[in-house]
Protein backbone atom coordinates (compact mmCIF):
# COMPACT_ATOMS: atom_id res chain seq x y z
CA UNK A 1 0.00 0.00 0.00
CA UNK A 2 1.45 3.37 -1.00
CA UNK A 3 1.28 5.78 1.93
CA UNK A 4 -0.82 8.86 1.31
CA UNK A 5 1.53 11.82 0.99
CA UNK A 6 -0.93 14.24 2.57
CA UNK A 7 -2.83 13.75 5.82
CA UNK A 8 -6.25 12.46 4.92
CA UNK A 9 -8.37 15.24 6.35
CA UNK A 10 -8.41 18.98 6.52
CA UNK A 11 -7.80 20.09 10.07
CA UNK A 12 -8.50 23.02 12.36
CA UNK A 13 -6.56 23.52 15.60
CA UNK A 14 -7.33 26.20 18.14
CA UNK A 15 -7.90 28.84 19.14
CA UNK A 16 -4.78 28.53 21.26
CA UNK A 17 -3.69 31.31 23.60
CA UNK A 18 -0.04 32.36 23.53
CA UNK A 19 1.99 35.27 24.81
CA UNK A 20 4.80 36.99 22.97
CA UNK A 21 7.60 36.60 25.44
CA UNK A 22 10.49 39.09 25.37
CA UNK A 23 13.09 36.37 25.89
CA UNK A 24 11.60 34.28 23.07
CA UNK A 25 11.68 37.28 20.74
CA UNK A 26 15.29 38.02 21.66
CA UNK A 27 16.26 34.38 21.09
CA UNK A 28 14.46 34.37 17.76
CA UNK A 29 16.27 37.51 16.66
CA UNK A 30 19.63 36.04 17.61
CA UNK A 31 18.92 32.73 15.88
CA UNK A 32 17.72 34.48 12.75
CA UNK A 33 20.79 36.64 12.54
CA UNK A 34 18.89 39.84 13.26
CA UNK A 35 21.09 41.01 16.08
CA UNK A 36 21.79 44.30 14.32
CA UNK A 37 19.29 47.11 13.89
CA UNK A 38 16.62 47.38 16.55
CA UNK A 39 17.57 46.33 20.06
CA UNK A 40 16.65 42.74 20.80
CA UNK A 41 13.10 42.42 22.00
CA UNK A 42 12.02 45.91 21.02
CA UNK A 43 10.30 44.82 17.82
CA UNK A 44 8.60 41.54 17.09
CA UNK A 45 9.98 40.09 13.85
CA UNK A 46 7.19 39.72 11.34
CA UNK A 47 7.95 36.04 10.92
CA UNK A 48 7.94 35.37 14.66
CA UNK A 49 4.35 34.01 14.78
CA UNK A 50 5.43 31.20 12.44
CA UNK A 51 6.93 29.52 15.50
CA UNK A 52 3.37 28.90 16.65
CA UNK A 53 3.04 26.37 13.83
CA UNK A 54 5.31 24.28 16.04
CA UNK A 55 3.46 25.02 19.29
CA UNK A 56 2.93 21.68 21.10
CA UNK A 57 -0.83 21.94 20.61
CA UNK A 58 -0.57 23.00 16.96
CA UNK A 59 2.35 21.17 15.44
CA UNK A 60 0.24 18.23 14.31
CA UNK A 61 -0.93 20.35 11.39
CA UNK A 62 2.50 20.08 9.76
CA UNK A 63 4.14 17.24 11.64
CA UNK A 64 1.53 14.68 10.55
CA UNK A 65 2.67 15.21 6.99
CA UNK A 66 6.02 13.63 7.74
CA UNK A 67 5.06 11.33 10.57
CA UNK A 68 5.11 8.28 8.32
CA UNK A 69 8.76 8.92 7.47
CA UNK A 70 8.00 8.61 3.76
CA UNK A 71 7.61 12.31 2.94
CA UNK A 72 9.09 15.62 4.04
CA UNK A 73 7.29 18.99 3.82
CA UNK A 74 9.16 21.57 1.74
CA UNK A 75 8.08 25.20 2.06
CA UNK A 76 7.36 26.59 -1.41
CA UNK A 77 5.54 29.84 -0.65
CA UNK A 78 4.39 31.93 2.27
CA UNK A 79 2.43 35.08 2.93
CA UNK A 80 1.74 37.09 6.04
CA UNK A 81 -0.38 40.19 6.45
CA UNK A 82 -0.67 42.39 9.49
CA UNK A 83 -3.75 44.34 10.55
CA UNK A 84 -1.89 45.60 13.61
CA UNK A 85 1.60 45.21 14.97
CA UNK A 86 2.30 42.47 17.48
CA UNK A 87 3.59 43.59 20.85
CA UNK A 88 5.96 41.98 23.31
CA UNK A 89 4.11 40.92 26.45
CA UNK A 90 0.74 40.87 24.69
CA UNK A 91 -1.43 37.75 24.67
CA UNK A 92 -3.02 36.46 21.47
CA UNK A 93 -5.20 33.62 20.29
CA UNK A 94 -4.28 31.83 17.11
CA UNK A 95 -6.12 29.28 15.01
CA UNK A 96 -4.46 27.02 12.48
CA UNK A 97 -6.17 25.36 9.54
CA UNK A 98 -4.66 22.80 7.22
CA UNK A 99 -5.91 22.39 3.66
CA UNK A 100 -5.29 19.90 0.95
CA UNK A 101 -5.31 20.68 -2.73
CA UNK A 102 -7.93 18.41 -4.25
CA UNK A 103 -6.04 18.39 -7.55
CA UNK A 104 -2.56 17.79 -6.17
CA UNK A 105 -2.02 15.15 -3.52
CA UNK A 106 1.46 16.44 -2.75
CA UNK A 107 0.30 19.98 -1.94
CA UNK A 108 -0.64 21.20 1.51
CA UNK A 109 -1.34 24.64 2.90
CA UNK A 110 -1.45 25.93 6.44
CA UNK A 111 -3.33 29.09 7.34
CA UNK A 112 -3.05 30.78 10.71
CA UNK A 113 -5.14 33.61 12.07
CA UNK A 114 -3.85 35.62 15.03
CA UNK A 115 -6.26 37.71 17.11
CA UNK A 116 -5.91 39.88 20.16
CA UNK A 117 -7.86 38.72 23.18
CA UNK A 118 -10.51 41.37 22.38
CA UNK A 119 -11.17 39.47 19.15
CA UNK A 120 -9.67 42.00 16.76
CA UNK A 121 -7.60 40.61 13.93
CA UNK A 122 -3.85 41.10 14.28
CA UNK A 123 -2.39 39.01 11.49
CA UNK A 124 -2.92 36.21 9.04
CA UNK A 125 -0.29 33.80 7.84
CA UNK A 126 -0.27 31.21 5.07
CA UNK A 127 2.39 28.67 4.22
CA UNK A 128 2.26 26.35 1.21
CA UNK A 129 4.18 23.10 1.26
CA UNK A 130 5.04 20.41 -1.20
CA UNK A 131 5.37 16.97 0.29
CA UNK A 132 8.46 15.38 -1.22
CA UNK A 133 8.76 11.62 -1.23
CA UNK A 134 11.88 10.47 0.57
CA UNK A 135 14.04 8.05 -1.36
CA UNK A 136 17.03 6.06 -0.31
CA UNK A 137 20.20 7.86 0.71
CA UNK A 138 22.37 6.75 -2.17
CA UNK A 139 25.46 8.26 -0.54
CA UNK A 140 25.02 6.14 2.56
Amino acid sequence: VTPKPVPSADLTIGPIEAVIDADAVAAYRRATGLEGGAPAGSRVPATFPAIWLWHPEAMAAVAEASASGTHAPILVAQRFAYAQALAVGERYRFTIRRFRDAGDASAMAIEATVRRLDGSLAATFRASYRLVALGADLAA
Partner: protein
Protein backbone atom coordinates in the same frame (compact mmCIF):
# COMPACT_ATOMS: atom_id res chain seq x y z
CA UNK B 1 25.12 39.11 10.45
CA UNK B 2 24.76 42.19 8.30
CA UNK B 3 25.31 45.87 8.68
CA UNK B 4 22.80 48.41 9.89
CA UNK B 5 23.34 52.13 9.54
CA UNK B 6 21.46 52.35 6.26
CA UNK B 7 19.66 55.48 5.13
CA UNK B 8 15.98 55.28 5.97
CA UNK B 9 13.61 55.79 3.05
CA UNK B 10 9.88 56.05 2.53
CA UNK B 11 9.84 53.98 -0.70
CA UNK B 12 7.09 56.17 -2.15
CA UNK B 13 8.25 56.24 -5.79
CA UNK B 14 8.44 53.55 -8.43
CA UNK B 15 12.08 52.64 -8.92
CA UNK B 16 13.17 53.40 -5.35
CA UNK B 17 15.77 50.81 -4.53
CA UNK B 18 16.61 48.81 -1.47
CA UNK B 19 20.36 48.85 -1.09
CA UNK B 20 21.77 45.32 -1.44
CA UNK B 21 22.43 43.75 1.94
CA UNK B 22 24.48 40.66 2.54
CA UNK B 23 23.74 38.11 5.28
CA UNK B 24 25.80 35.16 6.32
CA UNK B 25 27.39 32.78 5.57
CA UNK B 26 24.53 30.95 7.26
CA UNK B 27 26.31 28.00 8.82
CA UNK B 28 25.11 24.73 10.30
CA UNK B 29 25.21 26.14 13.81
CA UNK B 30 22.94 29.02 12.81
CA UNK B 31 20.51 26.63 11.15
CA UNK B 32 20.45 24.39 14.21
CA UNK B 33 19.82 27.44 16.36
CA UNK B 34 16.92 28.49 14.15
CA UNK B 35 15.50 24.96 14.27
CA UNK B 36 15.64 25.01 18.06
CA UNK B 37 14.10 28.46 18.45
CA UNK B 38 11.43 28.09 15.79
CA UNK B 39 10.55 24.51 16.66
CA UNK B 40 10.83 23.52 12.99
CA UNK B 41 12.88 20.35 13.38
CA UNK B 42 12.35 19.00 9.88
CA UNK B 43 15.48 16.83 9.57
CA UNK B 44 16.25 17.90 6.01
CA UNK B 45 17.62 21.18 7.43
CA UNK B 46 20.10 19.61 9.84
CA UNK B 47 20.81 16.12 8.53
CA UNK B 48 22.71 15.69 5.26
CA UNK B 49 21.36 12.17 4.77
CA UNK B 50 17.77 13.34 5.22
CA UNK B 51 18.38 16.14 2.72
CA UNK B 52 19.76 13.68 0.18
CA UNK B 53 16.71 11.42 0.66
CA UNK B 54 14.58 14.46 -0.28
CA UNK B 55 16.60 14.95 -3.45
CA UNK B 56 18.73 17.84 -2.20
CA UNK B 57 22.49 18.03 -2.52
CA UNK B 58 22.85 19.56 0.94
CA UNK B 59 20.67 20.63 3.87
CA UNK B 60 18.87 23.87 3.02
CA UNK B 61 18.48 26.92 5.24
CA UNK B 62 14.92 27.18 6.60
CA UNK B 63 12.69 29.14 4.25
CA UNK B 64 11.26 31.13 7.12
CA UNK B 65 14.75 32.24 8.11
CA UNK B 66 15.25 33.60 4.61
CA UNK B 67 11.92 35.43 4.82
CA UNK B 68 13.03 36.95 8.10
CA UNK B 69 16.24 38.22 6.46
CA UNK B 70 14.39 39.71 3.48
CA UNK B 71 11.88 41.39 5.76
CA UNK B 72 14.64 42.72 7.98
CA UNK B 73 16.56 44.12 5.01
CA UNK B 74 13.56 46.26 4.06
CA UNK B 75 12.58 47.16 7.61
CA UNK B 76 16.09 48.41 8.41
CA UNK B 77 15.76 50.97 5.65
CA UNK B 78 12.49 52.20 7.08
CA UNK B 79 9.86 50.24 5.17
CA UNK B 80 6.64 49.86 7.17
CA UNK B 81 5.59 46.47 5.87
CA UNK B 82 2.02 45.29 6.28
CA UNK B 83 2.15 42.18 4.09
CA UNK B 84 4.89 40.00 2.69
CA UNK B 85 4.62 37.18 0.15
CA UNK B 86 7.49 34.91 -0.84
CA UNK B 87 8.03 32.23 -3.45
CA UNK B 88 10.94 29.89 -2.90
CA UNK B 89 12.61 29.07 -6.20
CA UNK B 90 15.73 27.20 -5.12
CA UNK B 91 17.16 26.03 -1.82
CA UNK B 92 19.96 27.92 -0.11
CA UNK B 93 22.49 25.31 1.06
CA UNK B 94 23.74 25.63 4.60
CA UNK B 95 27.05 27.48 4.61
CA UNK B 96 26.19 29.99 1.89
CA UNK B 97 25.87 33.75 2.20
CA UNK B 98 22.89 35.48 0.65
CA UNK B 99 22.20 38.95 -0.64
CA UNK B 100 18.88 40.79 -0.49
CA UNK B 101 17.99 43.59 -2.86
CA UNK B 102 14.76 45.19 -3.99
CA UNK B 103 12.96 48.00 -5.75
CA UNK B 104 9.55 49.59 -5.68
CA UNK B 105 7.47 48.39 -8.63
CA UNK B 106 4.09 49.98 -7.88
CA UNK B 107 2.78 52.95 -5.92
CA UNK B 108 -0.84 53.70 -5.10
CA UNK B 109 -1.11 57.14 -3.51
CA UNK B 110 -4.84 57.48 -4.04
CA UNK B 111 -7.58 57.00 -1.49
CA UNK B 112 -7.21 56.37 2.20
CA UNK B 113 -4.73 53.57 1.78
CA UNK B 114 -1.53 54.87 0.19
CA UNK B 115 0.92 52.05 -0.26
CA UNK B 116 3.73 50.78 -2.41
CA UNK B 117 4.72 47.34 -3.58
CA UNK B 118 8.38 46.41 -3.36
CA UNK B 119 9.76 43.38 -5.13
CA UNK B 120 12.62 41.76 -3.26
CA UNK B 121 15.19 39.30 -4.48
CA UNK B 122 17.31 36.94 -2.44
CA UNK B 123 20.31 35.56 -4.29
CA UNK B 124 22.78 32.86 -3.33
CA UNK B 125 26.52 33.16 -3.26
CA UNK B 126 26.80 32.27 -6.95
CA UNK B 127 24.33 35.02 -7.85
CA UNK B 128 21.46 32.67 -8.64
CA UNK B 129 17.99 33.60 -7.48
CA UNK B 130 16.63 31.64 -4.50
CA UNK B 131 13.55 33.66 -3.44
CA UNK B 132 11.34 36.37 -4.84
CA UNK B 133 9.09 38.34 -2.52
CA UNK B 134 6.62 41.18 -2.66
CA UNK B 135 6.18 43.53 0.27
CA UNK B 136 3.24 45.88 0.70
CA UNK B 137 4.62 49.04 2.28
CA UNK B 138 2.56 51.71 3.97
CA UNK B 139 3.37 55.18 2.73
CA UNK B 140 3.36 57.97 5.26
CA UNK B 141 3.24 55.60 8.21
CA UNK B 142 6.60 56.71 9.52
CA UNK B 143 9.60 54.48 9.67
CA UNK B 144 9.78 51.04 11.12
CA UNK B 145 8.04 47.82 10.38
CA UNK B 146 4.96 46.13 11.57
Amino acid sequence: MSGGGLARKDFASVGDRLAPQRFGPIGAEAVRAFAAVSGDRNPIHVDAAAARRAGLDAPPVHGMQLVALMHEAAAREGAAIRAFSTRFLAPVPVGEAVEVSGRVVKVDQGGADPHAVMRLFLTRGDGSLACVAEAEILIGAGTGSR
